[in-house]
Each structure stands twice: as structure tokens, then as C-alpha cells.
Amino acid sequence: MKDALSALFADAMGSVRDLLPIVLVIGVFQVLVLGNPVAGLAPLAAGGLMVLLGLTLFIYGLKLALFPIGERLAYSLANKGSAFWLLTFAFLLGFGTTIAEPALLAVADEAARVAAAGGAIIDTAESLAEYAFMLRITVACAVGVAIVLGVLRILAAWSLPVMIISGYVLVIIMTTIAPAEIVGIAYDSGAVTTSTVTVPLVAALGIGLASAVRGRNPMLDGFGLIAFASLTPILFVMGFGVLTQWS
């Protein structure tokens, strides 16, 4: 109990140190550049405290649950030698963590609004919701496929740079085909997907797997899953744009 409390306190001090830069930047700009004090300081300060508390608890919980569980599952699955279960796990992990991603939710809604305002889709609540949902499904499938590709790469020891660079070439080719309105959203959705819930779990899977497979270096082979997860959504969303353009 005492150990848990001191660990929690250490995480809290870490959060204070992390949050300070944001407070300073906004404060400096508000006071020195804009030259007027922040309106409604009390709710903002309360919100800042919530961020502090949230960061602390999140990191503490992460160490307690997400990292050990993901690593152990990946290790067990890798040692079992069942490629089928491992790849199923990989796809579900990517799809499941992405479909529930808060950052993706926010951006998908934003994208639907902007698409409607630009005349790409009809401006009704239903078509907006449908567009946002389809976008999320597209991105979730893309991340699922990305994790499967990444796991295959770790198992087969394919070259990460070669695969990523091929992906870059595909992105450039797709950009010339895709409608101009989707390009910005597509590029952004690559980085949106890999957020707070997804990153730790996917990183744990990669490192656990690379530690378990003989002859793999966790440093060299364990990372790279997130790189796939931030590349495939760009391709899938541009593909989604091409398909919706035709239908």
C-alpha cells in the first residue's frame, strides 16, 4: 500500500512537470503578446487540475494493467506458435482500439461537418452521422490490417524501411487519384488513430512478440507497428474518398 502510494506520488510529480510547459506557453502569449488577462480563470484552473489528476491516474493504471497484459498475451501467443490466433488477435487489437478512439471520434465528426459544408455530402444529421461512422470503420479496418502487416513483418523479418517507403509511394500515387476534399482528412487520420489507448497496447504487442520470437531484436523488430498504423489509414481513407465519389 505504501509502495503504491509513493509510486502514485512519483507519477503525480511527473504530471506536474509535464503540464507546466502548456500553462507557461498559454500564459506568456495571453499576458505578454495579447496583453489581456484570461477571462474566466476559475473554470480553466479547475480544468487544469483535472488534466493533472487524469494524467497521474492514467499513467499509474497503464503500468499496472495495459503494458503487462499486452506483453504477456503477445508472448503467450507467440510461444504457442499459432499464427492464426496471433493474426486474429492483431486484427482485433487494431480494429477494437481504433473504433473506440476518442480522438478519431472528434475528428470524424469534424470531417463530416466540413464535408457537408463543402457540398461533398448532403447536409442532414443522418448523412453526417453515416459519413462519420463509415470514416471510423474505414480507419479501424486500416489499423487492423496495419497491425496484421506489422506482426507478419516481425514473424517473417521483412524490412521495415522497404515496406514503409513502398507505403509512401502508394500514398503519393493515391493522392493523384483521390478527390481533393478527402486528401487533408486522409493525411490527418493517419496520426489520429494511434492515440492514448492504442499506442501502449500496440507497442507492448510488438515488443513482447519480438522478445518471444527467436532471433529478433526487440529494439529493431519490436517497434514499427504504430508506423504501419499511421500509414494504412491514409491509403484506406483516400480509397474511401474515391469510392464515395463514384457512388
Binding site: 511527473g14 487524469g54 497503464l62 498475451l73 503467450s76 503519393i172 493525411y187 529493431l220
Partner: protein, 263 residues
């Protein structure tokens, strides 16, 4: 009262977000591996901490950081503040927004919990060769530069893909030159850097900027800041590794390199 209801709603949403992940992990443990989950209690407690922590964090984000970021974007593009009539603006008239974007990108990335988690992991698996703070600062500087350049692109209206294509070429060249050990980590850092804190903040910044600058449309020009942040994080981590190697090579050639001690 309303605040409590909002808080409960956000907490419920967070739980719904994390629940499928937890359920699917437990199911996999049972079906594929079999047997009970080891340390089940501490893992359950950990999940509760993750949900409550993430929930509090999102409340704080919506209460404080998000409106403040949006407010800053509006204020810094206001014609009154820029001291002009709002017509015939040149790209350099918006210099405050570039400075703000740089500072915002750096500070939000430093506060990113996912990046901290991965940095600790990288420190661990590299046997201490990669420093937690070194990596975080490299990613933060990359994200800051990326967001600032992204704002410049929105103001000038140059198509996004030109910048991205040049960035890709740079990454390819760096991949060839940088130490092999860092490459997968560098590719990952782009996605890691831009998560729940950074994304809503800079998405709002970009869309607000595209609305404020005459002649720009949000759908064509407003997006892309997140993509820039992601790409520049990769570039700067590769550069961090190249610099580390250069410095290590200059200071001592007798001591074994970190790659050797890793084996």
C-alpha cells in the same frame, strides 16, 4: 449539477471506450491461452485507474485546454490584433500564429502520456542507450516545427501533398544514413506524438486558421496539421539519432558503442 452530469457522461464514454479492449483481452486470455488471468486483481484495478484517469483528463481537456487553444487561435488571427484592415495580408503578417503553433506543438507533446510510456519502453529495450528526455525533446521539437510549418502552409494555401512528398523524400534519405537501431522507433514516434492531447488542439487550430485567413477553405486547407506533426516527429527523431552517433564518435572511440553492448 450540470457539470456533474457532464462529468459522469464523459466518464461513461471513457469506460465504453476502454471496456471493449479490456473484454477482448480477457476473452483472449481465456479462449486461446486458457486458465485464469495472472494478477487479475491488480490488472482490474489498473484498468479502473486508466478509465478514471482518461476520463478526468478528457474533462480537463474540454474544460480548460481545448477552449483556451481555440480562443488563442481566434485572438491571434484577429485583424485588430494584427494591426491591419484584414485585406491584403501577406504570409509573414501572421507570424504570431507560427510562434504560437511552435510553442503549442512543443508543449503539448511534452505533456503526452502515450509518448512518455513509449519513451520509457524505448529506454528499457535499448539498454539505456536512448534517453527518455532526449527522445521526448526530439519528438516535441519535431512536432512544434511541423505544426508551425503547417500553419504557414494553411496561410499560403500551397497543396498539402507537395510538403508531404518532400518530407517523405527527406525521411527516405535519413533512413539510409541514420543508425539502423533507431529507424523503427523513429517511424513509430510520429503516430505516438500525436494523440489525444495534441490532435483536438491542433485540429481546432488549423480549422480556425483556415476560416480566418481570406481565400482559404476549411475542407481544402484546414486539415493537415496533424499529418505535419507526425511527419516532422519522424524526421527529428532520425536527426536526434544521427546527432547522437556523431557526438559519440567524436568523444570516444575506445568505448564500445551502444549497439554492441545491446547484443
Amino acid at each position: 449539477m450540470e457539470l456533474i452530469l457532464t462529468a459522469l457522461g464523459i466518464l461513461a464514454n471513457t469506460a465504453l471506450d476502454v471496456l471493449p479492449v479490456a473484454a477482448f483481452l480477457f476473452a483472449f486470455q481465456r479462449i486461446v491461452i486458457g486458465g485464469p488471468m495472472p494478477n487479475r486483481n491488480s490488472i482490474l484495478i489498473g484498468f479502473v485507474f486508466v478509465v478514471v484517469g482518461l476520463g478526468c483528463f478528457l474533462i480537463g481537456l474540454e474544460q480548460a485546454l481545448f477552449p483556451l487553444g481555440r480562443l488563442m487561435a481566434e485572438q491571434l488571427t484577429a485583424p485588430d490584433f494584427l494591426g491591419s484592415s484584414g485585406v491584403d495580408m501577406r504570409w509573414h503578417d501572421y507570424y504570431w500564429i507560427y510562434l504560437f503553433a511552435l510553442a503549442l506543438g512543443i508543449s503539448t507533446t511534452l505533456a503526452e502520456p502515450a509518448l512518455l510510456a513509449v519513451s520509457m519502453k524505448a529506454h528499457e529495450v535499448s539498454g539505456g542507450a536512448i534517453h527518455v528526455w532526449g527522445l521526448r525533446v526530439a519528438v516535441a521539437v519535431g512536432v512544434g516545427t511541423g505544426v508551425a510549418l503547417g500553419c504557414f502552409r494553411i496561410v499560403t494555401g500551397v497543396p498539402l501533398q507537395y510538403f508531404i512528398a518532400v518530407g517523405y523524400v527527406l525521411v527516405i534519405v535519413q533512413t539510409v544514413l541514420a543508425p539502423k537501431l533507431i529507424v523503427p522507433l523513429a517511424y513509430d514516434s510520429g503516430g505516438v506524438a500525436t494523440s489525444t492531447v495534441t490532435v483536438p488542439l491542433i485540429t481546432a487550430l488549423g480549422l480556425g486558421l483556415a476560416e480566418a485567413v481570406p481565400g482559404r477553405s476549411p475542407i481544402l486547407d484546414g486539415f493537415g496539421l496533424v499529418a505535419f506533426a507526425c511527419l516532422f516527429a519522424v524526421i527529428s527523431v532520425l536527426a536526434y539519432a544521427q546527432l547522437s552517433v556523431l557526438r559519440a564518435g567524436r568523444s570516444a572511440t575506445s568505448t564500445p558503442t551502444t549497439q554492441d553492448s545491446q547484443e
